[in-house]
């Protein structure tokens, strides 16, 4: 697309249940634009001050212990490298199955997150621990739609998604077309999410969970983040996710706070709960706990649930394990006392 779609009320976009319910039958570019531009604006200074205030909460003793376990349960343990091999994925899965060999009470992360072609390997390595869409084990999440840039034809993106779902992916982490969004072509972004959601459909009629990555580091302004979040929800996303982890800045506390405000507003409006996933750059327990505070104080404790909040992270898990060991034993160990993956 080289220019925004001409504004025409008759140009209907692909149907999407939420958008239809909220906006009525008219899902034209004009209707979408008017809707998104009518959302409340964001004052950057105020948002950042609010986010900083979450960081001043003092989470100690029993609260800290509970928080650390909650963090682990919310992690999407991730490897997204061109150099990923079957061995690397097996090793990641092993870490998810036994995060801390010295303490069997350690909870497991929510999911392992890999590239689409590694889904089969991850499923195989998980064995009986794989949730297989039944929500009682570890999920396999796959990035799709020409992750991380999203610069491919829609056909390629959809096939990428279908392949991952066919291989067993329980969750699809798609990227939005940031170029189209910045062109003001909200309809194209909307359509692609709707179609990707459709591609998440399994043969039995159920859907793989769809996480929509906004890549907030490329959207830059908070107003854009609010619109993109809202648009992704309208189009059928189950989760909104900050970043691919390949662009700086990745997840930040202000951006995540804003996205939490969006899902809180969506619940207020429709009663439906959408998940939020900050990804990239959260590597310490201390930072992760700030996010939990932001979740609980923005959306309420109901959101402290892996179905509604995730961390996309790789090195975070080990820092949490170190802190957990410290709380259990009363002394700090060191990086050699947790397994690298």
């Amino acid at each position: 697309m080289t220019s925004p779609r001409p504004a025409s009320a008759s140009q209907a976009l692909a149907p999407a249940e939420r958008a239809v319910q909220l906006l009525g039958g008219d899902l034209s570019e004009v209707a979408l634009r008017q809707h998104l531009e009518g959302l409340p604006t964001v004052d950057a200074v105020g948002l950042e001050a609010r986010a900083a205030s979450f960081g001043t909460r003092s989470i100690k003793t029993t609260s800290k212990a509970a928080a650390l376990d909650t963090v682990i349960r919310m992690i999407d343990l991730t490897t997204l490298q061109g150099s990923d091999t079957r061995g690397k994925v097996r090793s990641l899965v092993a870490k998810a199955l036994v995060p801390d060999a010295s303490d069997p009470s350690t909870p497991r992360p929510a999911a392992v997150c890999v590239y689409g072609d590694m889904v089969g390997n991850a499923v195989e390595a998980l064995g009986s621990a794989w949730s297989a869409g039944k929500d009682d084990g570890i999920n396999v999440a796959a990035v799709a739609t020409a992750f991380p840039s999203g610069r491919a034809s829609i056909g390629v993106k959809l096939q990428d998604t279908r392949d991952a779902v066919a291989a067993g992916a329980d969750e699809i982490d798609m990227v939005i077309d940031r170029g189209a969004f910045l062109e003001g072509n909200y309809g194209k972004v909307f359509d692609e999410i709707v179609q990707t959601k459709d591609a998440c459909r399994r043969d039995d009629g159920t859907y793989a969970h769809l996480k929509v990555i906004l890549e907030t580091g490329e959207l830059v302004t908070y107003d854009n983040v609010r619109r993109a979040s809202w648009l992704s929800i309208l189009a059928g996303g189950d989760f909104i996710k900050t970043s691919t982890g390949k662009v700086q800045p990745a997840a930040t506390l202000p951006v995540t706070t804003l996205m939490l405000q969006v899902v809180r507003d969506w619940e207020r409006l429709t009663g439906e709960r959408i998940g939020v996933k900050p990804a990239g750059g959260i590597s310490t327990s201390k930072d992760a706990i700030k996010y939990l505070v932001a979740v609980a104080e923005t959306c309420g404790e109901a959101w402290l649930d892996p179905h509604l909040f995730r961390f996309g992270a790789s090195s975070l898990l080990n820092d949490v394990l170190l802190q957990r060991q410290k709380l259990t034993t009363g002394r700090y160990s060191g990086p050699d006392y947790v397994t690298i993956d």
Binding site: P40, T41, V42, D43, V45, G46, L47, A49, R50, T56, R57, S58, I59, K60, T61, T62, S63, K64, A66, A67, T70, L258, Q261, R268, L292, A296, E297, E301, L304
Partner: protein
Amino acid sequence: MTFLDYAPAPESTSILGLRDEYGLFIDGEWRPGGGTSFASVSPSTERQIAMFAAADEGDVDAAVAAARKAYRTVWGPMSGRDRGKYLFRIARILQERARELAVAESLDNGKPIKETRDADVPLVAQWFFHCAGWADKLDWVGLGAGPQAHGVAAQIIPWNFPLLMLSWKIAPALAAGNTVVLKPAETTPLTAMLFADICQQAGLPAGVVNLITGAGETGSALVRHPDVDKVAFTGSTAVGREIAKALAGTSKKLTLELGGKGANIVFDDAPLDQAIEGIVNGIFFNQGQVCCAGSRLLVQENIHDAVMDRLKERMATLRLGDPLDKNTDVGAINSTAQLERITRLVDAGIAEGGEAWSAPCELPKEGYWFAPTVVTGVEASSTIAREEIFGPVLSVLTFRTPDEAIAKANNTPYGLSAGIWSDKGSRVLAVADKLRAGVVWTNTFNKFDPASPFGGYKESGYGREGGRQGMQAYLKGGK
């Protein structure tokens, strides 16, 4: 226990080395007072912190005489550069002892440690640093070359920001070359006594800063003392009026920073989530015991319900309790007298047809507490829309057009502060221009900076504190 029942995280009081009894700090020494000593209690527990001396007329006389002598012999003749050195030294000590001061202030005033640690004490140090920089640059203060100090400044401060108000008074006075006699409020004298220690630690010459404790009579004797050249008062409009009367016809200079009934105006294009934070910060910061509090919310009628829903939801997350707990958002009311006043005014508001809603929080059994409260259905004629409550109580009024918002905002005998929430820059500027308030915040509230002048219109007082204008208040034109 759920996650939001954050485990207790109390700041330890072991850092405090408090005495059982504090005297008067006059001429660089501690001495007993002539009046009957009084106790200061911690508002959150009603437990006694220490006993404090009460200064009688003889003590006031001694304090003013010490200040006069120090002005004549040491501080007046001293170069601005050297005065600045002392002030910088004090500022650094304030930073070094920040935690101790934050704990003491929270204990004595009842405000949350979060605020004393992150707002009060850092601002105190900033004020001294800022004014220290002025000490050798007085030629640029705007009064022409070689401006002169007044001499002895008598200063009376309130209980809502005890140490911060002390710094607003003492730092510019000393930078300009005055010596001071300062009286802290009788319910919050503790940090002023710690400041006396800091003056000694900094090697400040005796008599430059004199700190006398006592109640209203002590203050009255101080401002009426014939050898005082300048009076600065922060407190209620009623007392300010008495002082102005007492000083009429004398050569004493006077600045007054009095009450307020600040309007916080929310337009329908406001950044909503941030406006909610600003409303909360505007009225619940320091339990609303702030002269510039945004105690009247003027919200555009078409977003009234949306704003109220969000505001109540946010208020329900405020954590009221032990002020020394690092997670406490709302602390105790400073005194039983203040609590009674708040209760009486809210009752009047309800009797006049207002609808009160309080955040669902459990009030501790001991101490003085008032849950964050919002009163809707308030009209411009209501008592709680006109009288300063000085507590965590927000009165909500609506408006339809910018002109109506301006008219309602200005329709008060006060004129200290106002806030505007709008995404539209041109509207913000146009409205700010017409608001008769000394401070207008846009898309924020309750922000202070030593470089920015602060003060009121109308019954909120006269004179400015902070910035160049704040320095001018302690100087007169050169010879």
